[in-house]
């Protein structure tokens, strides 16, 4: 049977709900293994003192992107049935900027704050509390924010469609950028050790 199993009938609604904690477990496990439950380590990304975030983040994107693309090409996964997040240019640009500043100040992002809290870090718990409060603030100001929130929608679209290139070319582009990034990071770290 072709994946995604939740859409093609291989996984009922109970199975779907059961898959959530199992997949989450793997997610949390690998975040913690990589050291992403530790705020100073994550914040080091912004000061070029610890580039773990860059490495973990882009390796994960590469793995999932190449895996999904080739499973789709070999007919094992129908990517058109996988939920593609919808694009809204302006709110996502603004949201990204706010989020980036919050990330810098908090030293953790929402997923990693859960890992930090689960490993006993009280600052992780505080970030989780802040997240909830931030969402409450957003929701209570929603009437006022809504026009901006709903502005510039493009629907579910890939950047490759936007650029007028094939999905395969988009995959190749991200792969090339990530691998160049890894090579540069490696060179940077070696130069710092030797100096």
């Amino acid at each position: 049977m072709i994946a995604p199993f939740s859409e093609t009938g291989g996984l009922g609604s109970t199975g779907l709900l059961l898959s959530a904690p199992l997949i989450g477990l793997a997610f949390g496990w690998f975040l913690e293994r990589g050291g992403l439950g530790c705020a100073p380590k994550l914040a080091g990304q912004f000061f070029f003192s610890d580039l773990t975030v860059f490495k973990v983040f882009f390796t994960a994107i590469l793995t999932a992107m190449l895996g999904a693309f080739w499973l789709d090409r070999f007919g094992l996964l129908d990517l058109s049935l996988v939920n593609l997040p919808e694009t809204s240019v302006l709110p996502q640009a603004i949201g990204g900027a706010l989020f980036g500043v919050g990330f810098l100040v908090a030293g953790l992002c929402p997923g990693t704050s859960c890992v930090a809290a689960a490993s006993g870090r009280l600052d992780g718990l505080a970030v989780m509390g802040g997240m909830l409060a931030g969402i409450v603030v957003f929701n209570s100001a929603f009437d006022w924010i809504e026009p901006l929130y709903r502005g510039t929608p493009l629907g579910a679209i890939r950047f490759s469609d936007w650029m007028g290139i094939s999905t395969g070319a988009g995959v190749a582009l991200i792969t090339a950028i990530a691998l160049c990034g890894f090579a540069l990071v490696g060179r940077f770290e070696r130069s710092r050790v030797s100096s």
């Binding site: 939740s6 859409e7 293994r33 530790c38 793995t63 694009t87 990204g96």
Partner: protein, 174 residues
């Protein structure tokens, strides 16, 4: 927990593990990973308790998270996934000797300041993630690997803002 903690895994191997977890989410659930969506779902359920199910379900801010007025956030895939994340993080920290009650902070801030900044940063991220329809997990990883245009806009503005403001936040971490 008196043993010294294990070394962290190689970041590239951890990244591959994370990528495979994300791929498993695509394959089994037809969706990606997320974190802020789970928080938003908890908030929506909380709103339903405080203001009543009808008010919360009809509000455009919380309604989409309350499927058919079901109030328990345990019906939400992302909330269950987040519980899994916490269990996974706990197990990994426990088995590697990193489980301890502590506050991680930069060398020049007090514990109290650290908690205040953690809260403030969390608030900013909560608002930002709502605007962007996701966070580093839901947009960054999930949408990024699917080549979503908006996800890459998010990734770029997120890191651009972080790096631009970093010199001002130096005292927090260095």
């Amino acid at each position: 927990m008196n043993r010294s903690p294990d070394r962290y895994a190689d970041p590239y191997f951890a990244g591959i593990g994370l990528g495979l977890a994300l791929l498993a989410a695509y394959v089994f659930a037809g969706r990606g990973l997320g974190a802020s969506g789970g928080f938003a779902s908890v908030v929506a359920s909380g709103t339903a308790v405080v203001k009543g199910t009808a008010a919360a379900a009809s509000s455009p801010a919380t309604g989409p998270y309350l499927d058919h007025g079901i109030m328990s956030p345990l019906h939400d895939w992302l909330v269950l996934e987040l519980i899994g994340v916490m269990v996974g993080g706990f197990l990994s920290a426990w088995l590697s000797g990193r489980l301890r009650i502590a506050i991680e902070r930069g060398p020049r801030v007090s514990d109290r300041q650290r908690i205040a900044f953690a809260l403030a940063g969390g608030v900013l991220m909560g608002i930002g993630a709502k605007f962007a329809r996701g966070c580093t997990s839901g947009q960054g990883l999930t949408g990024g690997a699917l080549l979503s245009a908006g996800s890459w806009i998010f990734i770029m503005t997120c890191f651009a803002a972080g790096y631009t403001m970093a010199p001002l936040a130096r005292r927090l971490w260095r």
